[in-house]
C-alpha cells in the first residue's frame, strides 16, 4: 500500500520542468565523469607506484659489505668486511625467519658480443634464489637460472629485455649463443617488461645475469658485492635484520650493533612510504572529484528548490486532504534521488567508457610518462565512493527544500495564487 502511495504521489509530482531537469542531470553526469576519471587515474597511478616500488623485489633487504665502525674483541675499527657467496646458505640455515638469500657479484665493463654487435655492459652473477627475490619474471619460452646451472657452473645467461633488444634486435634470443668476454654463453630466458622505480647499479632491463658460480670462475672473483635476502613476512624484517648481523658478526667478528660493517637497504620501509604516498594522491584526487560532483549537487538542490516552490500549491492541497509530512516529502526525496542517480548512471557509463578508451590508448602508447601514469582502473571502491557521494547529494538536495515546504501551515501555502 505505502509503496503504491509513494508512486502515485510521485507521478503527481513529476514536474514539467524538462529543460531544467536535463541541465541538472547533465551537471550530475559531468561531476560523476570527473570523479570516475580522477579516481580511476588515482587507482592506476597507485598500481604503478606499488608495482614500481616492488619491481625491485617485494620486502627485500639489499646489503653492501662495508667497513667496521666499532672496535670489537681486540680488532680495531675500520676493518673491511668481505662476504662470501656461501654465506647465503649460512644465513638461511641459521635464521629460520629468512625465506631466501642470494649473493650478487657485479662487473661493469664486460664485453658482450653477438654477430656484429659489440657492447660494453653490466654482468651480474647470482644464486638461483635471486630471480624470485628480485622479481625476474621470464617471458614465455624462457626461464631463470636454476640450481643445476649453479652446481654445474653452466655458461647460461638471463637477459634484461633492453639488453636482449640491443644484442639480438627483434629476433628471438632464447637458445642463441653470444659471448661474454669472448666466452660463449647460451640465452635461457629474457625478462618480461616491468616497472622498476628503485635500482642499485642500474635497471634490471640492462642486466645480463649468469650463475654466481660461473661468474666466480669467469672473472676470478671471491667476494660478493651485494647480498639480497628476504624475511618470510615484512613484519619479521626488523628481527631478521638483527639476526643477520648476529650470524655474520659471529663469523666475521664484528659488533652485531655495528650497522656500518654491512649496510642494509630495507625496502619494506620505502615501500610503506610509497604506499602512503599513493593513498595521499588518491585522497587528493578524490577531494577534487567530490568538489566537482558537489557543483552538480548544488544544481539538483536548485532544481528541487524551484520545483518545490512551483508545487507549493499542490503540496498545500495534499496537506489539506490529510497527507502526513512523510507522504509529501517521500516522493520529493525519491525524485531528487532519481535525478541524481540518473545523472550518476549516465556519468558512470560515459566515465567508464572513457577509462576503457584511455586505458587502451595508454597500453598502446610508447611514452614513458603515459606508462608511469598507469592504466586507469575503474574499480569497486571507485564505484562505491561515487554511489555514496551521489546518494548523499541527492538526499540532501531533496530533503531540505521539501522539509521546508511541509513545515508551513497548509492555509499559508494555499494562499499562494
Amino acid at each position: 500500500m505505502r509503496l503504491g502511495l509513494i508512486f502515485k504521489l510521485f507521478r503527481s509530482a513529476a514536474s514539467i520542468q524538462r529543460k531544467r531537469m536535463i541541465l541538472t542531470v547533465t551537471a550530475i553526469a559531468w561531476g560523476t565523469i570527473s570523479i570516475v576519471l580522477l579516481l580511476s587515474f588515482g587507482e592506476g597511478l597507485k598500481h604503478t607506484l606499488t608495482a614500481g616500488s616492488t619491481g625491485l623485489g617485494e620486502g627485500i633487504a639489499i646489503c653492501w659489505p662495508g667497513e667496521t665502525q666499532k672496535a670489537f674483541r681486540g680488532f680495531p675499527a675500520g676493518r673491511e668486511i668481505n662476504v662470501l657467496p656461501e654465506d647465503a646458505d649460512l644465513l638461511t640455515q641459521n635464521i629460520p625467519e629468512m625465506e631466501a638469500a642470494s649473493g650478487e657479484m657485479q662487473t661493469w665493463g664486460a664485453q658482450l658480443s653477438y654477430g656484429r654487435q659489440n657492447l660494453n655492459k653490466r654482468v651480474v652473477g647470482v644464486h638461483p634464489q635471486w630471480g624470485k627475490l628480485r622479481n625476474q619474471v621470464p617471458e614465455s619460452g624462457g626461464r631463470f637460472l636454476n640450481q643445476l646451472d649453479h652446481d654445474l657452473k653452466r655458461r647460461v645467461a638471463f637477459l634484461g629485455w633492453e639488453i636482449k633488444q640491443d644484442l639480438f634486435g627483434d629476433e628471438p634470443a632464447v637458445g642463441k649463443t653470444f659471448t661474454i668476454n669472448r666466452v660463449p654463453f647460451t640465452v635461457i630466458g629474457v625478462m618480461k617488461d616491468k616497472i622498476q622505480m628503485g635500482t642499485y647499479g642500474g635497471p634490471d632491463k640492462n642486466n645480463t645475469v649468469i650463475p654466481i658460480s660461473t661468474f666466480e670462475a669467469l672473472l676470478g672473483r671471491r667476494y660478493v658485492n651485494v647480498m639480497v635476502w628476504k624475511p618470510r613476512t615484512p613484519e619479521l624484517m626488523e628481527h631478521t635484520k638483527r639476526r643477520f648481523y648476529e650470524v655474520l658478526g659471529a663469523k666475521y667478528r664484528f659488533d652485531p650493533t655495528d650497522e656500518r660493517a654491512i649496510g642494509i637497504w630495507d625496502t619494506v620501509e620505502s615501500q610503506r612510504m610509497t604506499a602512503n604516498m599513493s593513498v595521499g594522491i588518491e585522497i587528493f584526487l578524490g577531494i577534487i572529484g567530490a568538489l566537482t560532483l558537489l557543483i552538480g549537487g548544488v544544481g539538483v538542490a536548485n532544481i528541487m528548490y524551484a520545483a518545490i516552490t512551483h508545487r507549493t500549491r499542490e503540496i498545500g492541497v495534499l496537506m489539506a486532504i490529510g497527507a502526513r509530512k512523510s507522504y509529501v516529502m517521500g516522493p520529493l526525496v525519491v525524485e531528487s534521488l532519481a535525478l541524481t542517480f540518473l545523472g550518476g548512471i549516465i556519468g558512470i557509463g560515459i566515465g567508464g567508457a572513457l577509462v576503457q578508451g584511455l586505458a587502451y590508448l595508454q597500453q598502446n602508447a610508447q611514452s614513458e610518462a603515459m606508462e608511469f601514469l598507469g592504466t586507469p582502473t575503474f574499480s569497486l571502491p571507485v564505484a562505491a565512493t561515487t554511489v555514496l557521494l551521489l546518494g548523499t547529494i541527492g538526499f540532501i538536495a531533496g530533503y531540505f527544500p521539501s522539509r521546508r515546504a511541509v513545515s508551513i501551515q497548509p492555509a499559508e501555502v494555499l494562499r499562494y495564487e
Partner: protein, 231 residues
C-alpha cells in the same frame, strides 16, 4: 461520535494574529462559536473580515494564536504536524473556491488520495471512489484529467474528494465563487442534499441566495462575530 450535547465545534476566545515583522495584523479577535451536529451554517461578511481565516482554523489548515478549539470533543488547538494531518484526513472535508484538484492525475486518483492517506484497503478504496462518483453524478468522467472537466464538474469532483473519508464536518470556502450561475445552482443542490442527509456543513459565501438556503447565518466584521442567528 462526539459529546452528548451534540456540539461538534466549540470555539472559545479564538484569535489569530499575523505577524508580518513590522506590523501585527489581528485577523480574528475573541471568537466564540459553537456548531452542533447536522447544522447547515453560512458564514458571511465583507472581504477582509476574517471569514477565510476562521474557516481555515476550523478546518485545521491553520492554528489559532490564542484560544480553545474543541473538535468533536477533542482539543485540537495545540495539535501540530502529523496529528493535525490525521484530523484533516479523517474528520474534515474541505471544498475550495478554486477546486484545488491536482491537475496531473485523473479525477479518480484525486478522489482516491485521501483514502490512500488514511490507509484504506485497495478493494475498499475502489468501491468507495466509484460510489462517490455515482453520488456526484460523474460516474462517466472518472478517468478524465481535471483540465478536461468543466468548472461545475471539477467542483463536484472536489466534493467527492471531501466526502471520501466520510468526514464529521464539511467546510466550503466560496464553493460557487468561480462558477457560472447554472453550475452554481447545481452545486447548491448538492450541498442541500448533503445537509438533508444529516451532514454538518459550514459554507463561506458572498452569495445571498446560498446564505438564504442555510439554517443559520454567522456574520463577521473586522475579525469579530457581529451576528449569529437562524436565517
Amino acid at each position: 461520535m462526539s459529546e452528548s450535547n451534540g456540539a461538534l465545534i466549540e470555539m472559545k476566545g479564538i484569535s489569530k494574529v499575523y505577524d508580518t515583522g513590522k506590523l501585527q495584523v489581528e485577523a480574528l479577535t475573541g471568537i466564540d462559536l459553537t456548531v452542533r451536529e447536522r447544522e447547515f451554517v453560512s458564514i458571511v461578511g465583507p472581504s477582509g473580515s476574517g471569514k477565510s481565516t476562521l474557516l481555515n482554523i476550523i478546518g485545521c489548515l491553520d492554528t489559532p494564536t490564542d484560544g480553545s478549539y474543541r473538535l468533536g470533543g477533542e482539543e485540537v488547538a495545540g495539535f501540530g504536524g502529523d496529528r493535525l494531518a490525521d484530523v484533516r484526513n479523517r474528520k474534515i472535508g474541505f471544498i475550495f473556491q478554486s477546486f484545488n484538484l491536482l491537475p496531473q492525475i485523473t479525477a479518480y486518483d484525486n478522489v482516491e488520495l485521501p483514502l490512500l492517506f488514511k490507509g484504506t484497503s485497495a478493494r475498499e478504496r475502489k468501491r468507495r471512489v466509484e460510489d462517490l462518483f455515482e453520488r456526484v453524478g460523474l460516474a462517466d468522467r472518472m478517468a478524465h484529467k481535471p483540465t478536461e472537466l468543466s468548472g461545475g464538474q471539477m467542483q463536484r469532483v472536489a466534493i467527492a474528494r471531501a466526502l471520501a473519508c466520510d468526514p464529521d464536518l464539511i467546510l466550503a470556502d466560496e464553493p460557487t465563487g468561480n462558477l457560472d450561475s447554472n453550475s452554481g445552482a447545481d452545486i447548491l443542490h448538492v450541498f442541500q442534499d448533503l445537509a438533508e442527509a444529516g451532514n454538518t456543513l459550514l459554507v463561506i459565501t458572498h452569495d445571498n441566495a446560498i446564505a438564504q438556503r442555510t439554517e443559520r447565518m454567522v456574520t463577521l466584521q473586522d475579525g469579530r462575530i457581529t451576528g449569529d442567528g437562524p436565517v
